[in-house]
Amino acid sequence: MKSLYESDFLVIRDETKCIRCKVCVRQCANEVHQYDEEEDRVVADSSKCVGCHRCVALCPTKAITIIKNPLEFRANYQWTERAIKDIYKQAETGGILLTGMGNDKNYPIYWDRLLINASQVTNPSIDPLREPMELKTFIGRKPERLEFDSYGNLITEIPPQLELEVPIMFSAMSFGSISINACESLARASMEVGTFWNTGEGGLHKKLYPYKDRAIVQCASGRFGVDIDYLNAGAAIEIKIGQGAKPGIGGHLPGEKVGEEVSKTRMIPIGTDAISPAPHHDIYSIEDLRQLIYALKEAVSYKKPVGVKIAAVHNVSAIASGIARAGADFIAIDGFRGGTGAAPMRIRDNVGIPIELALASVDTRLREEGLRNQVSIVAAGSIRNSADVIKAIALGADAVYIATSALVALGCHLCQNCHTGRCNWGIATQDPYLVKRLNPDIGARRASNLLRAWEHEIKEMLGGMGINALESLRGNRLMLRGVGLNEKELEILGVKHAGEGI
C-alpha cells in the first residue's frame, strides 16, 4: 500500500560543510543517512527521521539541521495536520497508535499560571550564600506527637523514613523500558546527591545492587523481579497502581526486548512478553490494598516505608484518603503529563488530570481529614525546572519525582519514539550497540549536575521568600498567586489571584 504519510521532518545537509565522514550514517539507528559511493555524497531519507538530533549533535562540521516539514495542509482548526496524519497511519496499519514520553497536547500548564512570592521591606529576604538553608526532606509517616523522657531523650518511635538532601527523586523507570546505562546513571547520581531512584517494575539488575541503599523498589501488577531479596534490598517499596501517562491500563514489554539480562532481572523466560495487567489481581478495594501494604511491611520487618503510586484521576483525593487509611507511608501522584516508555496515544493524551490540581486537592483533603501527617505526598508528572518544584512544595508536596527531566539531562531529545526501542541516545533501548552510547560516567555527572543546579535555584527562591527551611514552604500556599485562573481553579488550587493581599 502506498503510504500517504509524508515526513514529519526534513533533513537539511549543507553540502559545502559535509566532509563525508559518515558519522551520521553510523549514528542513526533509523537509517536516515546513507552514503552514496557512486556520487561520493551522503544522502538522507527524511521519511525515517524522528527528529532526535543525534546526527546534528555528532556532526563534526555542523553540516546537518533538521526542520519540521514545512509542507502545509489546508488550514483547518478541526482537522489539524496531526489529526489527518494519525488517520493515515491507522488506515495503513489498522493498529492502536503507540507513542512515548508524556502528553504533549495544549492543555493548561498550571505551573505557568502560578507565581512565587518574595520578601520586600516588612520581612527580610535571606541570602543563601551567606546563611544556612535547609532542604532536607523526610519521606514517611510522621508521628502524631513526640514524647521525651525526663532527660530529654526522644521516646516516641519514629516510623521508617527516607532521608533526602534535595526534595527531588528520580521517578520509576524500569530496566527494560530504559537501558542499564540509563538506570546506572540515575542510580549513581542519587548516591552522589543524596536522593533516591526508582527501579520501576523491572526488578533490580545485579549490576545495580551497589546502589540499592538509594533505590525505591517497585512492586507492580506483573510482580516482575519481586522476591524477598529485592524487597529487602531497597530503601523503600512502592506499590504501583497507576501511571500518569496511561491511567487504567497496564504495561507491555514486548518479547523482543526481553533479552538475557532483562529476563534474569524480571525473572521471566527469554523472549516472552512481560505483561503487567491493568489492575493488581489481588487488589479490588482499599482493604485489599491494605493487605498488600502490610504483607510488604511484614516482609521487610516494618523497617522500610511502603508507598503507593497512583495516576491523577478524577476522584484522586478520595482515593488518596483511602490509601492513607490503608497504611501507606507515602503516596506518589502522577499527573497526566507523566512520561512513559510506551502508551497508546489516545490514552496518554486524554486520560487523567493535571498534577497541580490533583496535588492541591489531595493535600486539602488529607488535611481536612486529619491524615496529612500520616503520609508523605510525592508529586510527579511534568516537573520541568526548580520553579515547578517550589510550586509543587507550596501546593503541599513533600517531594517531587522527576523522570522526563532526568532523561533530558542524559541526552533525551523528546522525539517520543521510546516504544520503538531504537533510541539513538542509548536511553530507551536494549540494543547493546545503542546502549553503549550512554556512558554512565557522563550520565551520572549530568544527572547530578541537574539536581545540584536545581538545589541552588531552590535555595535562591526560598531565600527570596525569606524562608530558610523548605519545611516552612510545604503546603504554604500563601506563597503562591494565580494569574489568569478562574474562581474554580483558584478554589481547587487553594491560592489567591495575583493582586490579592494576605
Binding site: 566532509i19 565522514c21 555528532l58 562540521t61 550497540y433 552510547r437 557522563i442
Partner: protein, 156 residues
C-alpha cells in the same frame, strides 16, 4: 634505566560508540590546518593514525592507536632508524625524513597500529599529538571512550 613512555591512550570498549570521530579529528590534527572542512577537502589529506576496530554488527568497537610499547619491535626492525623513541617524552616517533617506506615496521607491529601514508610513502603512526601535547582523539571523543593515562612509576 631505558626510557619508556609516560603516557598511553586507553580505549574503553564498553562505551566506544563506533562513530569514528577519533579518526576524523586525527586527520585534522595532522593536516596542517585547524579547519576540518579544509582538511578534508585537501587532495593530499593524511590518513588517520587511530583506527576503530569493529566486529560484525558493531557488538565490539574500540579505537586502537600505537601503544608506544616499552619494548617496541618497530624500532628494532627499522632499517634507517627513522622509527625511534623520542628522548624527551619516551614516545615512539617516525622521522619522516629518514623513513624510506620499506614497511618493516608494519610487518612487525603486533597491534597493526602503523599505517602507510599513501601520499608521502612513509610509515605513519600515532605521535600522541606530541606538538600540541594533548591527543586530539581523546579531546574529541563524544562518549569519553578514550583516556590518556599517566603511567605509574613502576611501569615506566
Amino acid at each position: 634505566m631505558e626510557l619508556k613512555t609516560k603516557k598511553r591512550i586507553y580505549a574503553k570498549e564498553d562505551v566506544c560508540i563506533g562513530c569514528h570521530l577519533c579518526e576524523i579529528y586525527c586527520i585534522l590534527a595532522h593536516s596542517g590546518t585547524k579547519d576540518l572542512i579544509k582538511a578534508f577537502n585537501r587532495v593530499n589529506r593524511p590518513s588517520p593514525r587511530v583506527l576503530v576496530e569493529e566486529k560484525e554488527g558493531y557488538s565490539i568497537t574500540f579505537a586502537l592507536q600505537c601503544r608506544h610499547c616499552d619494548d617496541p619491535l618497530c624500532t628494532k626492525a627499522c632499517i634507517t632508524s627513522a622509527m625511534h623513541r623520542d628522548e624527551k617524552t619516551g614516545y615512539i616517533i617516525c622521522d619522516e625524513e629518514k623513513c624510506v617506506g620499506c614497511w618493516s615496521c608494519i610487518l612487525v607491529c603486533p597491534y597493526g597500529a602503523i599505517i602507510r601514508d599513501e601520499n608521502k610513502k612513509v610509515a605513519s603512526k600515532c605521535d600522541l599529538c606530541i606538538e600540541s601535547g594533548s591527543p586530539i582523539c581523546v579531546e574529541n571523543c563524544p562518549n569519553e571512550a578514550l583516556e590518556l593515562r599517566e603511567l605509574e612509576e613502576d611501569s615506566k
